[in-house]
């Protein structure tokens, strides 16, 4: 039995290390993008359009991952694209977590009419097709980073609200919140001091997962040409652009796609790894 358990733990450890490692690399790459890339992300050179990556014959020295149709350095664009992706992940993820968890906590702990209203809102939100809703919101808000963040918060708060509501309800049904109230705490302070810490691990896991989703939503919106602007480097925009010349220059689409894939996978695996870490049965 002991062997089995330590094996499980090793597997979890590996998963956390690999996904955490990739995310760390990404953060460093985003921060030090100007130092790492020999070219600017917007620098065009129409004579150097669609240059292949360095290991393919005909590559242009200095452009390690090749260039796109306008002769812009793919590596530079991916690095600068990481900035957009990470900002969206962090900011949109955190605000979504804050809004959704607060509403979920209020609904699950206070119950009554608060719960009725919030649950009803969740039901209505669940009846929207999320991608269409986000495209619609961007159309309303206009393209730009702030619009994307608002759209993600507006659409995804239910992910947190649903789970946190259920957990808060389960915690609220236990004995300790009642005894805290008997000891003289108000309901609101009981909620924050007693309930919240017990729900926090769940929120952290959901937040990690939400960051991956935020990156994808940004990519989808860039892909539909509704994200930031067509010039600014975003992975989704690069993929969308690369798709049109996929038969002539596969690398324009493949590199941002691989980066996006690994990033989304890492956020999700990091979240799952954390979930197992927080699970008292496995700990």
């Amino acid at each position: 039995m002991l062997d089995g358990r330590s094996q499980i733990r090793r597997k979890i450890g590996l998963r956390l290390w690999l996904s955490g490692g990739w995310l760390l690399i990404l953060v460093l790459a985003a921060v030090f993008a100007p130092l790492l890339s020999p070219h600017g992300p917007l620098e065009q050179d129409l004579f150097l359009g669609r240059m292949p990556p360095f290991w393919v014959s005909g590559a242009e020295p200095g452009y390690y991952l090749g260039t796109d149709s306008l002769g812009r350095d793919l590596l530079a664009r991916i690095l600068y694209g990481a900035r957009v992706a990470l900002i969206v992940a962090l900011v949109a993820g955190s605000i979504t977590a804050l809004v959704g968890s607060t509403l979920g906590l209020l609904a699950g702990y206070l119950r009554g009419w608060v719960d009725v209203v919030i649950s009803r809102l969740i039901d209505i939100w669940m009846a929207f097709p999320p991608v269409l809703f986000s495209i619609l919101l961007i159309a309303v808000l206009g393209p730009g980073l702030v619009s994307i963040i608002i759209a993600i918060v507006v659409i995804d708060w239910t992910r947190f609200a649903r789970v946190v509501r259920a957990e808060a309800m389960a915690q609220g049904a236990m004995d300790y919140p009642a005894s805290a109230q008997i000891a003289g705490r108000t309901r609101l302070s009981t909620m924050i001091v007693e309930i919240l810490p017990n729900v926090l691990p769940t929120i952290v896991v959901l937040l990690t997962l939400e960051m991956g989703i935020a990156v994808i939503v940004e990519a989808i919106l860039s892909f539909v040409n509704l994200s930031i602007s067509t010039d600014d480097p975003t992975w989704g925009g690069m993929i969308s652009e690369g798709r049109t010349s996929i038969h002539q220059a596969w690398w324009i689409m493949v590199f941002p796609l691989v980066t996006l894939f690994l990033t989304v996978l890492s956020f999700s695996q990091f979240g799952e790894g954390l979930k197992d870490r927080f699970d008292p049965v496995l700990r």
Binding site: D123, P129, V131, L132, L136, L257
Partner: protein, 336 residues
């Protein structure tokens, strides 16, 4: 009595949800910048023309007023007229609905087959490397959304090794004898297997992309609940009767393991249908989702409203069907 009451409650709450969706969409899209009427008219149209068209689509009235006119129409089956296509929204939407339904159902079938096979194989080979491999594959499939799977499939089977069509619903040069828009079903009914094969070859990639995450969920949940069932006494008893592992898993464990999986799969299926929006766009598949994105880009307000409401209706119907299936499959509820 009890059942009737809970059904009525269910319907009432569904109605509230749909009204909520309608209100939100209606007001959100009224804030959309960009004048749909201006986009319709050729350059050089007079002020008078603009005013006339604005009045024609009711856009000169206040927003609440517009809502009640629109809601009144919806109750009579009139969803308004598309600004870009200048045809009734209902006709347009119902014309595209079959394409999206066929795609979603095909994706569901693929997901059930892939997930079912993964769960059954994983249960059969429990504790071995095969099961560990299935778990890793499931984890990957679950972590990455349909949008990325679609791009990867396009690269692999559309570009690197082009075996499937990656654009459209059917080869345009083919002569279609269909009277309905359910191409997939109608081609089968007419025994036109040549057309059927062409349609499937167009649908397979988008359907697979939609199916992969759902397949992983089915695989994971079903395997977990199968493994729990395999420890129960009636499974052991069946073994002592002389039955082999396959029979024991499929006949004894599976019927009892399906129920807990079913409810969750229902919610996930609505996510899959929501995913058709972007997947149809990626594969230029002429369904509702693709039409929806065009409608947003063209600021075709009545059409957007109609499509969103239709999606909401589909989602609630799916949830209702799942609950009914659950009740039908569970002998305890069936005889209660």
């Amino acid at each position: 009595m009890q059942i009737l009451r809970s059904l009525l409650f269910r319907l009432a709450s569904t109605a509230v949800t749909l009204v909520g969706v309608a209100v939100i969409v209606f007001f959100v899209i009224r804030v959309v910048p960009g004048d749909p009427i201006a986009m319709m008219l050729p350059p050089g149209a007079t002020e008078e023309d603009i005013a006339r068209l604005t009045a024609l689509y009711g856009l000169d009235k206040s927003i609440p007023e517009q809502f009640f006119i629109w809601a009144g129409g919806v109750l009579q089956g009139d969803f308004g007229t598309s600004i870009t296509a200048r045809r009734p929204v209902l006709d347009l939407v119902l014309g595209r609905l079959p394409a999206t339904l066929e795609l979603s159902i095909m994706a569901l079938v693929i997901a059930v087959i892939l997930g079912g096979v993964a769960a059954l194989t994983g249960t059969r080979e429990r504790g071995t490397k095969v099961e560990a491999g299935i778990d890793v594959a499931n984890g990957m499939a679950l972590s990455v959304p349909d949008f990325l799977w679609a791009l990867i499939l396009i690269l692999l089977f559309g570009v690197a090794w082009p075996v499937f069509h990656i654009s459209g619903r059917v080869t345009p040069s083919l002569d279609l004898p269909f009277v309905t828009n359910f191409y997939l079903f109608e081609s089968l009914l007419r025994l036109r297997f040549d057309l059927w094969a062409d349609i499937v070859s167009h649908m397979f990639m988008p359907a697979l992309a939609l199916a992969i995450p759902l397949a992983a969920i089915i695989g994971q949940l079903l395997k977990q609940s199968l493994k729990e069932t395999m420890h129960l006494d009636y499974v052991t008893l069946s073994r002592t009767k002389g039955y082999g592992e396959n029979h024991v898993i499929i006949r004894e464990a599976l019927p009892n393991a399906i129920l807990p999986t079913l409810t969750l799969v229902g919610v996930q299926f609505t996510f899959l249908i929501g995913g058709t929006v972007i997947i149809e766009r990626l594969f230029s598949y002429e369904g509702l989702g693709n039409m929806a994105i065009d409608a947003v880009i063209n600021r075709d307000l009545p059409l957007i409203q109609g499509i969103v409401i239709l999606f909401a209706v589909i989602f609630t119907v799916v949830n209702l069907v799942v609950d009914l299936t659950y009740a039908l499959l569970n002998p305890r509820l069936r005889h209660a």
